[in-house]
Each structure stands twice: as structure tokens, then as C-alpha cells.
């Protein structure tokens, strides 16, 4: 329906990031209106404006028009340029909010992206930099993006004041590989990072111990790393948190994390993270909920072959994304349920024909 017109048209402030990504990758202009029209404080938030600025910086020739009231935007995408970029993220959202869309775009840029982001390194709304480093980046490798892919956590910064700094390095690819990932396998190891800044470094060890008390019953191969940043590198606010992931025999990863809350003991934070991980493992599939959108996007962009992937129940974000993909690329997924063993939730196979997206921005070596 919307394919006939060149401009993608969406409404509402929800799902803004995914829609901007789709627009920039497809090269189609996107118009988003009705951004919080009835709100007391209508229009774009500061972090959304900041995200638009960031996207403007990593691209070349992007034109962004924001209406006077801020309730509508029009983005005409340019080419994804890459190269060295520095961006200060507002403290209203964590670095993860900005990095997630950038990771989807970076492999298709003209030059390898070297992005430095400053701000809050982990909060409870978006993926922390630890999970992006240990879980999201390995997901990129499934699609053949690997050499030189790196996320360096130079400084940590907890909410509310942040003060962290990360550097994201991403190589350029011509085309992503078709994914065929339908064997979930069994969890063979659990890894985790327990971090603490500007608090007693012992908190980190207390979290590790509490988490082990839950997870040790399943497998012995548990390694939780205590990552304590000190002095200048520890940001402006105190905080701590535990990010853990379970990896299966086939390489399927599920992750969870919990961060410090006022009045909650480190043990309880760790318990929360560990239980959330178990819940995530039980949901089944080869891809956890936070990475469904990312994997589906890469599947759409894959070579002209049928890609298949086993996932648990889709999240609302995933469902909306599938619809937006249809609007943007005309690609629909075939979703078939599979019989799974009793313990896990419903599992579905998502299959689609890749559009054979070729990175036309890439400068020829």
C-alpha cells in the first residue's frame, strides 16, 4: 500500500528508532507525525532530537525537518558515511538507546565507523554497553560482520549523571549472509559481567556470589567477571549492576541484566538478573527478545535466499517492526509454530526471502 508512494509515513512517537533505521537503510524518506500531540509537553523529547543529530552525523546529505511544534518530522536520508564520529548523549537515555540503531546501520556505511559515545553506560530501559558488547556484537557475527568489530568501554557512567564513554568500531560489509538458525541447542555456559562504580567494590563480588547460588544448580561452567572501574573512569554517579548471558551448544544466546535501585541490596539485584535470565531461557528460541528486531532486519537484508530463524514469542516491538518492514521493503515473514518440548514457551520459525541488499555506499578498495 505505502510502497506506491516514495515517502514512508508513520504516526506516533513509538518505534521511532526502528523507523528511522528502515528509512536510512532503504534510502526512502520518512515522515513521522502525531508525535505526542495530546501530551502536556508535546513533540520530540531531547533524546529523540539527539538521536536525529547522531544519525545526521553518521550519514552524509541527510536532511531533517522538524515542524515548529515538534510533533512531526521529515527525514530525507543521505548515504551512511561512517568514519570517526563523536556524540554526547543526553542523560535522559542511556548510550544503548543511541547505539542500538547505529549498530543496525554501521555495517552498511561507506567507511568503517569509529563512533565515540558519552553518557550513561547502563540503565534499565535499553541494553547496557556490557550486553551490547557480549551479546549484540556476536549476533552481528552471525551475518558475517566480524573483523574489527569492537566495543570498548573506556569509562562507565551510571544514571543520573552518566559520565561514561564507549568507542564502537564497526567494519564495512558488502552484503550480509543469509541466516539459518533453527537449532536452539542446550545451554552450555553462563557468562556475566558484574560492574560497580563509586560504591564499595565488594558489591560486585556480592552480586556474583548471589547469582551463582541460583545458577550453579544447572551447570558448572559459570564465569562471572567482576569489572570495577575506579577514579576518573567511574563516571559521575554511583551504581552497580549485573549483566549475564547463557550460551547454548549451537551458539544461541539469551541475556538478562539488573541494575542497582535505591534501597535494594546487591544480592537482590543479582537474584533479579539471574531469575530474569532463567525466564529468558525458558522463552526458548535461538534469539532472545531484545535482539529479535535486530536479527529480523539483518534477515530481510540478506542475500536473495530464504533465511530461517527460530524465536520465542515476538514482543510488541517485533510485531510492529515486522509491519514496518512490510511497509518499507514489502517483505513479509512466514511465521510457523513448531512443537517444542514442554518446558519452554511457544516457539516460532520466522522465514523470509532476503532482498539481497548490497552496500552501495561502500568505497571500493
Amino acid at each position: 500500500m505505502a510502497q506506491s508512494t516514495a515517502v514512508l509515513h508513520f504516526s506516533g512517537h513509538q518505534w521511532l528508532r526502528n523507523r528511522l533505521v528502515l528509512s536510512i537503510i532503504s534510502g526512502k524518506p520518512v515522515k513521522v507525525d502525531k508525535i505526542r500531540p495530546d501530551d502536556k509537553n508535546p513533540g520530540l523529547r531531547d533524546y529523540e532530537v539527539s538521536l536525529l543529530r547522531l544519525l545526521e552525523r553518521i550519514t552524509n546529505g541527510t536532511i531533517i525537518e522538524i515542524s515548529v511544534t515538534g510533533t512531526a518530522i521529515l527525514l530525507k536520508p543521505g548515504v551512511i558515511a561512517g568514519g570517526p564520529v563523536l556524540h554526547d548523549c543526553p542523560t535522559s537515555r542511556s548510550i544503548g538507546y543511541f547505539l542500538e540503531p547505529v549498530i543496525m546501520l554501521a555495517p552498511f556505511s561507506k567507511k568503517p565507523l569509529q563512533l565515540t559515545l558519552r553518557g550513561i553506560t547502563s540503565d534499565d530501559q535499553d541494553l547496557s554497553v556490557d550486553l551490547i558488547r557480549t551479546v549484540t556484537l556476536p549476533h552481528l557475527q552471525l551475518f558475517g560482520v566480524s573483523d574489527g568489530l569492537e566495543l570498548r568501554i573506556k569509562k562507565r557512567g551510571s544514571p543520573p549523571l552518566g559520565g561514561g564513554e564507549v568507542q564502537f568500531l564497526c567494519p564495512v560489509v558488502k552484503q550480509v549472509k543469509t541466516l539459518n538458525f533453527v537449532e536452539r541447542g542446550k545451554v552450555k555456559r553462563i557468562r556475566g559481567i558484574s560492574h560497580a562504580v563509586r560504591v564499595n567494590p565488594q558489591f560486585s563480588n556480592r552480586m556474583i556470589e548471589a547469582s551463582r547460588s541460583v545458577l550453579n544448580r544447572y551447570i558448572p561452567d559459570i564465569y562471572l567477571y567482576s569489572d570495577v572501574y575506579k577514579g576518573e573512569d567511574s563516571g559521575k554517579s554511583p551504581g552497580y549492576g549485573l549483566s549475564i548471558l547463557a550460551e547454548s551448544t549451537t551458539g544461541a544466546m539469551h541475556c538478562a541484566e539488573a541494575l542497582s535501585q535505591p534501597g535494594v541490596a546487591p544480592e537482590d539485584t543479582a537474584l533479579l538478573a539471574s531469575r530474569a535470565l532463567l525466564a529468558e531461557v525458558r522463552r526458548g528460541g535461538c534469539i532472545d527478545r531484545q535482539h529479535q528486531v535486530f536479527v529480523l532486519l539483518m534477515m530481510v537484508l540478506g542475500s536473495e535466499d530464504v533465511g530461517r530463524c527460530l524465536m520465542g514469542e515476538p514482543t510488541p516491538r517485533t510485531i510492529q517492526f515486522l509491519r514496518d518492514v512490510q511497509t518499507c521493503f514489502g517483505t513479509t515473514f512466514k511465521v510457523t509454530p513448531v512443537e517444542s518440548d514442554d518446558a519452554s514457551g511457544p516457539e516460532l520459525i520466522f522465514a523470509c526471502l532476503g532482498i539481497g541488499y548490497v552496500n552501495a555506499n561502500r568505497s571500493l578498495a
Binding site: 512517537h13 513509538q14 518505534w15 521511532l16 528508532r17 505526542r36 495530546d38 501530551d39 544503548g96 538507546y97 542500538e100 534499565d124 530501559q125 535499553d126 541494553l127 542446550k186 545451554v187 552450555k188 541460583v214 544448580r217 544447572y218 551447570i219 551448544t249 538478562a256 541484566e257 539488573a258 537482590d268 533479579l272 538478573a273 531469575r275 530474569a276 532463567l278 525466564a279 531461557v281 525458558r282 527478545r289 531484545q290 514469542e313 515476538p314 514482543t315 510488541p316 516491538r317 517485533t318 510485531i319 510492529q320 515486522l322 509491519r323 512490510q326 513479509t332 515473514f333 512466514k334 511465521v335 510457523t336 509454530p337 518440548d341 514442554d342 518446558a343 519452554s344 514457551g345 516460532l348
Partner: protein, 107 residues
Amino acid sequence: AQQAFSDRPRAGKRKDWTKLIYMSSLSPAEILRGNVAQSGKSQSTQFAGDEDFFTVVSRDSADKEELDVTKDALKADELEEWGDEDLLDSIRNLFITGSSAPAGEGV
């Protein structure tokens, strides 16, 4: 609404996901909640009112703004169920040490 979702709709109803995603006007949250019949009704009343000059602004989600977040908030009370030994044991077969693991990899 959140509760209904978390109840894990195990009830026999097989969802036709492809159809729900691409060929219905239900919102993503409604699909997951699985209240197909209910929301169908509210849709039709909405359309009936379209002829009128004045339309009632729905105030369903006005209370708290839905943010574009990647992680769902952890709900401590929901995760409390993992204190239960039986539940902990029920997912043991998802790990390599589980009973259905190939011989030689057992505990």
C-alpha cells in the same frame, strides 16, 4: 493488561501469527494478549462514530507514556515464581546437564 500478557497464554488456542501480524489491525499488545474478539468489537464502534463531527478521544494510554525501550522492566514479583524448586527443575532439560542430554554429558 500487562498481567494478562504475563499469564503466558498457554491455553490451547493456536495463533496464526502470520495472519495476526500482517492481516489484522490489532495493535501489537492486543495480539499478544490474545483478546481478538474483544478488540474487534471496539474497532467497530470506533468506525461507527467516524461519521460524526465530534469524535471522542480515546484515553487508553494517556496515563503513562509508553517509551521506546528495548528491555522490559524487570518485575520482581513476577520473577518471584523462580523461588519455586519445581519450576527451577522444570527447565533443567534446557541445559546440557539436563536429563535428555546425550549420554556422557550428564551430571
